[in-house]
């Protein structure tokens, strides 16, 4: 047993770590996949759109080229520079280049490299052409001049950026919508899981009658199956406990009735005047043994009763300080007459529990301390409210218990070798452990330096620290 008991179990749904929720990782993965799909689709769409716009551009450029060719046919090539100059001024989205066969620039500003016919990409030149890329088509005129028509691709790229942004926007909206839809579904799933978890915690706290609620609203799925399986398990456990109780009751009844007759007859025999003195002594001895047998029998029955009991049915709110003082005061004359001392260090310590059982817990621990300490020892009984719960403790400055044996002494019938000769049923500390377990209290045995300190720390069934109705501990 350690001084730092295990943390209380966390109730479902109280988790601050959203990452631990079921399905949340899957949901994140889902969003990532949706976004990736949009990126891929965007890329495909981009290249498609690019190809489409390029085709359109080519068609437009070829159209413009043939319109210029028509001009040449109709009006002669000499008017072409003027036409180009006009068309450039009016700007219909095209750029031109007209270079005579001698290499003389006759019009336009596109700057197509010489000697290259057909389709080509032309980077913008000079200050005007900065940042522009043209798709151009070059042809020779009937006079052998060099004519090219181009269109700025930057327009397409602007359009492409627009398309990309729209795609990103649509992707984000899609991802958020899917996340929202998933959340609505997940909330319901979490609620249903929380109901199963709540049921388990209530059972742990002692209410065996609770069952996982199930609704008829939806089709049965895996979660319903889990709830159903748990309910069936609880039915089975409930049945077994009822059976065990019945057996315990029957055994108690079937043993106590003959024991009653035996005790009555022994009592009558013991008082009989016809009995010789040595016979009377034997009868008294048998009577004493019978009483010892009954004590052990009672302790065993009590142990099984406490372990199989539903505390939430009979718990009342009580102050452990009062319990500790009452029991310690009851033992004080006994302790003092035996040459030991008892001291009380308590402050308000409110818990919910069974007053009779808690008094017995304190009494058993004081008796234990009384039995295992030499004369002159001091027994301390304490209770109080601390940050981690309400505690009650009984400490002595006797020989103590070796760390490796501390847990074992709580088991039924375990007795340290040095106590084998002394009286006691060997069930006292087991009953203490059972009472503590029934109250959701952590029982720890620690070194009192020297001696033994037994502490029961009470927490509420939901794992929270027991609330205090009284003032904070003074210590």
């Amino acid at each position: 047993m350690s001084e730092s008991p295990r943390p209380p179990p966390r109730a479902f749904g109280s988790s601050q770590q959203i990452w631990r929720r079921p399905g949340i990782r899957l949901a994140v993965l889902q969003v990532v996949v949706i976004l990736a799909a949009f990126v891929v689709a965007g890329q495909v769409a981009r290249s498609e759109i690019q190809a489409l716009s390029e085709r359109t551009f080519r068609r437009e450029i070829l159209g413009e080229m043939s319109s210029l060719q028509d001009e040449i046919l109709r009006q002669g090539e000499s008017r072409l520079p003027r036409t180009i100059e006009r068309r450039t001024r009016l700007w219909r989205g095209f750029e031109y280049d007209l270079v005579s066969s001698k290499g003389e620039v006759l019009g336009g500003r596109l700057g197509t490299p010489e000697g290259q016919l057909g389709w080509q990409i032309v980077p913008g030149r000079g200050e005007w052409g900065q940042g522009k890329t043209f798709l151009a088509y070059a042809q020779t005129t009937p006079s052998g001049a060099w004519l090219s028509v181009g269109k700025n691709l930057a327009d397409v790229q602007r359009e492409m950026r627009l398309v990309t942004w729209r795609l990103i926007g649509a992707g984000l909206i899609g991802a958020l919508a899917s996340l929202a839809a998933w959340m609505i579904f997940a909330q319901e799933t979490w609620r249903r899981l929380a109901r199963i978890s709540d049921t388990a915690h209530q059972v742990r706290a002692g209410s065996l009658a609770v069952r996982v609620p199930h609704s008829e609203a939806h089709l049965a799925d895996d979660i319903d199956d889990v709830g159903l399986a748990m309910n069936q398990m609880l039915d089975r456990i409930g049945g077994l406990i009822a059976q065990l109780r019945q057996v315990t009751t029957d055994v108690a009844h079937d043993l106590r009735t003959p024991l009653s007759r035996m005790r009555q007859k022994l009592e009558r025999l013991e008082r009989s005047a016809r009995l010789a003195t040595e016979d009377r002594d034997s009868v008294s001895a048998i009577h004493g043994d019978l009483l010892e047998l009954l004590r052990t029998f009672d302790a065993l029955l009590q142990l099984s009763e406490i372990e199989g009991r539903n505390l939430s049915e009979d718990g009342v709110v009580l102050d452990l300080e009062e319990v500790a003082r009452r029991v310690a005061d009851a033992f004080r004359p006994d302790v003092e007459d035996s040459g030991r001392r008892i001291q009380i260090e308590t402050s308000a310590a409110w818990v919910q529990g069974d007053p009779d059982l808690l008094a017995q817990l304190v009494a058993n621990l004081i008796e234990n301390a009384l039995r295992h300490t030499p004369a002159g020892a001091t027994i301390t009984v304490g209770a109080g409210t601390f940050d981690d719960g309400v505690r009650i403790w009984i400490a002595d400055n006797g020989p103590g218990i070796a760390p490796d044996q501390r847990k074992a002494v709580l088991a039924p019938y375990f007795r340290l070798d040095r106590s084998r000769g002394s009286p006691g049923s060997g069930l006292g500390l087991s009953i203490v452990a059972a009472i503590a377990a029934r109250h959701n209290a952590d029982l720890s045995l620690s070194d009192n330096g020297p001696g033994l300190k037994v502490t029961a720390r009470f927490t509420r069934p939901d794992g929270k620290v027991t609330q205090t109705a009284g003032p904070k501990a003074r210590r």
Partner: protein, 249 residues
């Protein structure tokens, strides 16, 4: 409530007064042993082994105390008490049980039983409990503000105890112990009853709590001049009695 035989308050506590007791118990051996021991104490005892028959008998005839087994054929002890109380019968009932669990005791008392005794019990325990129940039925719920025994006087409002004129200084537990003894003056109170009523313990600590407190109380009383007021009755318990007879060993 019918209370035959309740004519003389002083004599009714003494053996020899014929008080009617009904035992409802299905184990004939246990029932006859109980009946025999109670008859020795001077009671008139009727034995019935069936809850329904007992219910009819209780309606037809008045009893001072009923001793009812928890487990009976046809109508169990708890149902019997509940039925009895529903019919307005307030006769004190001592529920006797072989179960002995805390929950069982609570169920018994909640359903109208007045006291509860776990089998197997000592006859002295049974006798003391029957006497206490009889007193309760006679006194009703009245709580006297003063209790006295010979020259001993307890003022329960001031929580002070006097022997003749001098006050005896008692610790709270000693006061409560004396109070319980005085409420049962002249009748033995068992160790188990004291544990329940003085300390509120429903379990038996394996130490001499009761004996030690009694001896402390006794020495305080004797220091004040009250000699041999609290007597030990071997096997039965303790009694406070104004008659300063010889203390049994």
């Amino acid at each position: 409530m019918q209370t035959p035989g309740h004519t003389d308050m002083q004599t009714m506590d003494r053996p020899g007064t014929s008080l009617a007791i009904l035992i409802v118990e299905d184990d004939s051996q246990v029932a006859s042993e109980m009946a025999a021991s109670l008859e020795l104490e001077g009671y008139v005892v009727s034995v019935v082994d069936d809850g329904l028959v007992a219910l009819d008998l209780a309606a037809a005839q008045g009893f001072d105390v009923m001793i009812v087994d928890r487990m009976l054929p046809r109508l169990d002890g708890v149902s019997f008490v509940r039925a009895l109380r529903t019919r307005g019968n307030t006769t004190p009932v001592l529920l006797v049980t072989a179960l002995g669990t805390v929950a069982d005791r609570v169920v018994g008392l909640e359903n109208g039983a007045d006291d509860y005794l776990v089998k197997p019990f000592a006859f002295d325990e049974l006798h003391a409990r029957v006497r206490a129940l009889k007193r309760r039925s006679r006194d009703g719920q009245d709580e006297p503000t003063r209790l006295a025994c010979g020259a001993l006087d307890m003022n329960r409002l001031a929580r002070r105890v006097y022997w003749e004129a001098s006050e005896i200084d008692l610790l709270p537990l000693e006061y409560r112990l004396l109070e319980v003894l005085l409420m049962n003056a002249g009748r033995p109170v068992t160790r188990m009853m004291l544990l329940e009523q003085v300390w509120g313990f429903r379990f038996d600590p394996r130490t001499n709590i009761v004996e030690t407190h009694i001896s402390h109380l006794r020495s305080k009383l004797e220091a004040a001049g009250a000699q041999r007021l609290v007597k030990t009755i071997r096997g039965a318990g303790y009694v406070i009695d104004p008659d300063p007879g010889p203390t049994p060993a």
